[in-house]
Symmetry: C2
Subunit: 253 residues, 2 copies
């Protein structure tokens, strides 16, 4: 049984401000929990649907939780309604801790993806997953991006949330300027730039993507060493931002 | 005011079987309606939220509808609940006709995208939009893909639904075999193929993408002239299918 305090805590974690207050977020599904274990993420609590407490499916998770002293709650159908973040609860969920990061903690000279005002959770999650696939390790998010620890974002990262340094900027223009002082080159992707064919790979690069509706904010444009576009020859007006970012990542890796 | 018959008709169009029975689908939002006009799609009915009947925003649409003898219904808040497909109605929607297509109607020798069991509406919509961007004109859908005239798919195509030949296969294996008889070469994208670097562009090509969870169905694999993968060096297990398709399309165009 879940105490009201616990139910309230899980509900709070569906709001950004509490996720940062507690430095915790929610993951759902066996695969996400396996990923968390594999990546030595710190799980503080595991919830399993009561009816599935004996199922073989979650046996390994329960054993591992016992070994690592992680409390496991078996939750009634009624209580699941209060803690689930999806319409169909996958039988298992957990609370995981995270460490907010800053640009100062990123010491390696690796290329950085900058996202300016990406609001769609699915797009952000897909960009994190794609960046992980292509071996990027750092994403810098402007102040008005959707929170990467939002449950929808987490879900669409398909586990890549555990592999990526996610930095929430409080002043993206200042942060990109700082990176340029550190000899990074900045490349922006817009509708009317040069063909990305000419884009060369380099470790000290910043790749900036803006929102589909507004593009990159004006204050960032003068910081770019070059503006590039993905050539198209059809009738579509634009590409989805996660798709554009994927094509660029493929090109520069 | 909307008659019950009209309300029922619009509600029916939210189901696949009725969309094909009537050869009609629903579009929502000013932009989609502008796109439909631009692409000489046949609009049979336009709905505008009563409160916005005098707004400048829809003035041009109303004028054009009058000129083309398309009935415009001004709909009360109460009735909108019955006809809207999104939680926030954008003030305007319409019924558009479509012509189901078959492989036989495709006469040009153009590359064809084949989608096998793509169930996610957002992914299908994004693939249609991306294909349109890169100048592809034909997509062949296996029998168990989500219907491209589903309202969520239509929305995420961002108007590209009007530019693409969408063919619903009733036997995808047979259809791909038929294309091969017509001297097309088939390329499948799997987790363990050759590097797509080696993929060459050619007009008579079929590019086959499977679902993220199950990949390309086994019966299609022997029909492929080559199996290819997008090289990754990070920790992600896989790429989103719309992202994979985009990278491949960029590569072969």
């Amino acid at each position: 049984m879940l105490t009201n305090t616990m139910k309230q805590h899980v509900t709070k974690l569906q709001q950004k401000k509490y996720r940062y207050e507690f430095q915790e977020f929610i993951i759902e599904g066996k695969k996400a929990i396996d990923e968390a274990f594999q990546n030595t993420a710190k799980l503080t609590t595991i919830f399993i649907q009561e009816e599935k407490s004996e199922s073989e499916e979650f046996d390994q998770v329960i054993q591992r939780a016992k070994k690592e002293h992680i409390p496991v709650y078996f939750v009634s159908k009624k209580d699941i309604k209060d803690i689930k973040t999806t319409s169909t609860y996958p039988g298992i969920s957990a609370i995981v801790t995270f460490q907010p990061q800053t640009l100062a903690t990123i010491t390696q000279n690796t290329p950085i993806i900058v996202l300016d005002s990406i609001n769609d959770p699915g797009n952000l999650g897909t960009i994190i997953r794609t960046a992980d696939w292509f071996g990027f390790t750092t994403i810098l998010l402007s102040e008005n991006c959707v929170d990467p620890y939002n449950e929808k974002v987490v879900r669409s990262t398909m586990g890549s949330i555990f592999h990526m340094n996610l930095i929430q900027s409080t002043n993206i223009v200042q942060d990109v300027a700082l990176l340029k002082q550190k000899k990074y080159k900045a490349y922006g992707f817009t509708m009317k730039g040069k063909n990305i064919k000419g884009l060369k790979k380099s470790k000290k690069s910043v790749y900036i993507f803006g929102s589909e509706s507004h593009g990159i904010q004006e204050d960032l444009l003068p910081l770019c060493n070059g503006l590039y576009s993905i050539p198209g020859k059809g009738k579509a007006e634009s590409l989805n931002v996660a798709v554009s970012a994927a094509v660029v990542m493929y090109k520069v890796v």
